[in-house]
């Protein structure tokens, strides 16, 4: 085998210019694929981080409560004390349980208003959230604002306060220290309002931060007139995130066996179920047990879309590469036809001739795609380390981060190298088989 590699390598060196050109093309496409995969992985990592701190646990128990069959469904667990011990008993590997209340209302400032969800938190349970939140510079939400950062992440969830995100502050034209009004309807239907002081304005982290803000849980209870024992959701963080799906099923089955009404699992955020549940004729308490992937479903759709576009783009380039490899091999076969004839005449079998040419393509594919993938990984790592701010809201929404985030994984590099090596080898098979089928006498007398 060694001799084939040696011969193939020498042949590549002999046709240096041609090999270099084809190698460069292969390396470029390989680099592009690794780079696109790094973006896609960066999006997936951002989605996981953002979703599991801002909007979800690894597994969640959401409550829906309808006081009567005619009423709309409210995102309420009527009695947290009834559900929480069951959850902790059924899933002993839960590292922590975070309780949050949900509100939906109008936030009004002196000059603007937005309709958004307001999440009520207990600050003592929210270390992860505080770690994930970063304050936005004034330039992100104020016309003529500078790079100075004001506000205090440690105050997120203080009673009488609200933590907004840059896109919301921009629409409301508010700064840290300003007062906004949260106007909403109580669970009994009466209008209610509360004044809240803005204690921080966070950097946008994709679509999630367009529709979320944080206040103290008691504020939600006050505005919506909820009972003290009520909450909205229990966010469960597991020791091992890989157990998410199994844990969800175990929990849903076990809660159902204890006569709690568990809704059918759907791969969508809990709030998207509210309209459908409001239209159904039932009353009382029901629960939705879902995962962070369901809560981040919109992000998953974006990532899947991006991956399909990437694969489509790379497929077109791979087609060009295939044509290039075949063409190069044809030229090589043509130039070396007398040589092939001689080798066949002195006893080399057809399969060995085929192997010789295929090895040449495989070596070229391996070296070029390895080089390209390495370069792509290096380029992606440098850009990721540079934390380049994304220029537009659309880019932030799609990439779920306010900076360009790329994540390189070794398995993806290896996969990409293997794919391109295989493609190069496969593309060489037809010209190589033609070479192998030549009659020695014809090949020897061939004049190129």
């Amino acid at each position: 085998m060694g001799i084939y590699v040696k011969v193939a390598f020498r042949n590549l060196l002999q046709a240096r210019r041609r090999s270099l050109l084809l190698g460069l093309a292969l390396a470029s496409v390989s680099m592009l694929l690794v780079f696109l995969m790094a973006i896609s992985q960066g999006m997936a990592d951002s989605l996981l981080e953002t979703t599991t701190t801002l909007a979800s646990g690894h597994v969640n128990v959401h409550g829906f409560y309808k006081p009567s069959t005619n009423a709309v469904a409210w995102p309420i667990i009527e009695d947290e004390k009834k559900v929480r011990p069951l959850v902790e008993e059924i899933l002993p590997d839960v590292e922590r349980v975070v309780s949050r209340a949900h509100g939906w209302g109008k936030i009004v400032s002196e000059t603007g208003s937005i309709v958004t969800s307001v999440t009520g938190i207990l600050p003592e349970q929210e270390d992860r959230l505080r770690e994930r939140l970063t304050l936005a510079p004034r330039s992100a939400y104020m016309e003529g604002g500078g790079d100075e950062v004001v506000g205090d992440v440690s105050r997120v969830g203080e009673p009488g306060t609200i933590f907004l995100f840059a896109n919301q502050a921009r629409r409301l034209k508010v700064d840290v220290g300003d007062t906004v009004i949260l106007a909403a309807e109580t669970s009994g239907g009466a209008a209610n309002s509360v004044d809240l002081t803005v204690v921080g304005i966070g950097r946008d982290l994709g679509m999630v931060t367009n529709f979320i803000s944080f206040t103290h849980k008691d504020t939600i209870h006050q505005v919506y007139q909820l009972k003290p024992e009520a909450t909205g959701s229990l966010l469960l963080y597991l020791d091992d995130i890989e157990r998410t799906h199994a844990a969800r099923k175990e929990l849903a089955d076990a809660l159902a066996s204890r006569e709690l009404e568990i809704l059918e699992h759907l791969d969508q955020p809990f709030y998207m179920r509210m309209d459908a549940l409001s239209n159904q004729r039932w009353a009382g308490q029901r629960y939705d047990v879902n995962t962070w992937e369901a809560e981040g479903a919109h992000g998953k759709w974006v990532i899947t879309g991006f991956q399909w576009i990437s694969y489509f783009l790379v497929s077109i380039l791979v087609l060009i590469i295939v044509v290039g490899v075949m063409n190069t091999m044809w030229m090589s076969v043509r130039e070396r036809t007398p040589e092939i004839g001689t080798l066949r005449a002195i006893g080399m079998g057809r399969s060995r001739v085929l192997l010789l040419f295929a090895t040449e393509a495989l070596i070229l594919g391996l070296l070029a795609s390895g080089f390209g993938a390495g370069l792509g990984a290096l380029f992606a790592s440098i850009l990721d380390a540079a934390r380049i701010p994304l220029p537009s809201d659309a880019a932030k929404t799609v990439l779920m981060s306010d900076t360009l985030r790329l994540s390189v994984r070794l398995d993806q590099i290896v996969r990409s190298v293997l794919v391109f090596t295989f493609v190069a080898g496969a593309a060489s098979l037809y010209p190589a088989s033609r070479a192998a089928r030549m009659r020695p006498v014809t090949a020897i007398h061939h004049v190129g």
Binding site: V72, V108, T111, G112, A183, G189, A191, S193, V194
Partner: protein, 258 residues
């Protein structure tokens, strides 16, 4: 009709023997809001053409044209938008204290709360519905106040426990001379003023029993939270003839957009 006359006579007697600034007792104040309810109650069916003009800060003004159908005996109501073109066919149906919204562009019905804003404007279902003040609120006389040149009674209404109302506290200004409701202020549970409504013009329509039904020709609703937002509701072409039962069904509303 005789009830209205009796109430008017009772109120006139009270005002005759009272000193100019005499307080109304709770019973007298209650009579006054019962009078408001009765004057606006059509007893039979009700159909009106309504124009809704919505002014919002930083947005272009919007004008909607809608038809309102009511059957007060059974608390049924339909609001069907007919203009502008992109809103035509959208509508609300209230049956058995359920409020549904229909959007023909998606062909779906959605359950809404009774207090929902109509068409996303500052107006609410109650602005188009019959008056139910005495049924939903306890009332207290706050004093006399000048509203422009007019002398008015200022009343405070607080929602009864369990009453399904959008605003738990309401202040009313009622013209002493005509008993017309001229101004209404609505407060949130927190005490914040949420809306102020002026009702400068009223007109009457005779129902099938010959009773005069009072209708506010114009309601100017000011959003007190989002200052600058304002809705004007103008009611035209009120008809009090019996309506077919089919009007108050989902099928009828759906058929309007086909």
């Amino acid at each position: 009709m005789s009830t209205v006359r009796t109430r008017l006579a009772a109120i006139a007697l009270v005002l005759l023997f009272a000193s100019p600034a005499a307080a109304l007792t709770d019973e007298e104040a209650l009579e006054l809001i019962k009078l408001q309810d009765e004057r606006q109650n059509s007893v039979g069916d009700y159909k009106a053409l309504v124009f809704i003009e919505q002014k919002e800060r930083n947005k272009n003004d919007q004008v909607y044209e809608a038809l309102v159908y009511r059957r007060d005996v059974t608390d049924k109501m339909v609001i069907l938008f007919v203009r502008p073109k992109e809103e035509a066919g959208k509508g609300y149906l209230r049956v058995d204290k359920n409020l549904f919204f229909y959007d023909p562009t998606v062909g779906k019905w959605e359950r809404r709360t009774e207090r929902d804003r109509i068409g996303g404007t500052t107006s609410r279902r109650q602005d188009f519905d019959r008056s139910r003040l005495a049924e939903n609120f306890n009332v207290k006389w706050l004093g006399e106040e000048k509203l422009g040149k007019l002398d008015t009674h200022k009343l405070e209404l607080r929602a009864k426990p369990g009453a399904d109302v959008a605003f738990p506290v309401v202040h009313l200004w009622i013209d002493k001379a005509t008993n017309n409701l001229l101004k209404r202020q609505e407060f949130a549970l927190s005490g914040r003023l949420m809306r102020t409504t002026f009702l400068p013009k009223w007109f009457t329509v005779k129902n099938s029993q010959g009773k005069d039904v009072w209708v506010p020709r114009e309601q100017r609703i000011f959003d007190e939270v989002e200052k600058g937002n304002q809705t004007t509701v103008v009611i035209r072409q009120v008809e009090l003839q019996p309506l077919d039962d089919s009007y108050f069904t989902k099928a009828w509303l759906e058929a309007r957009s086909r």
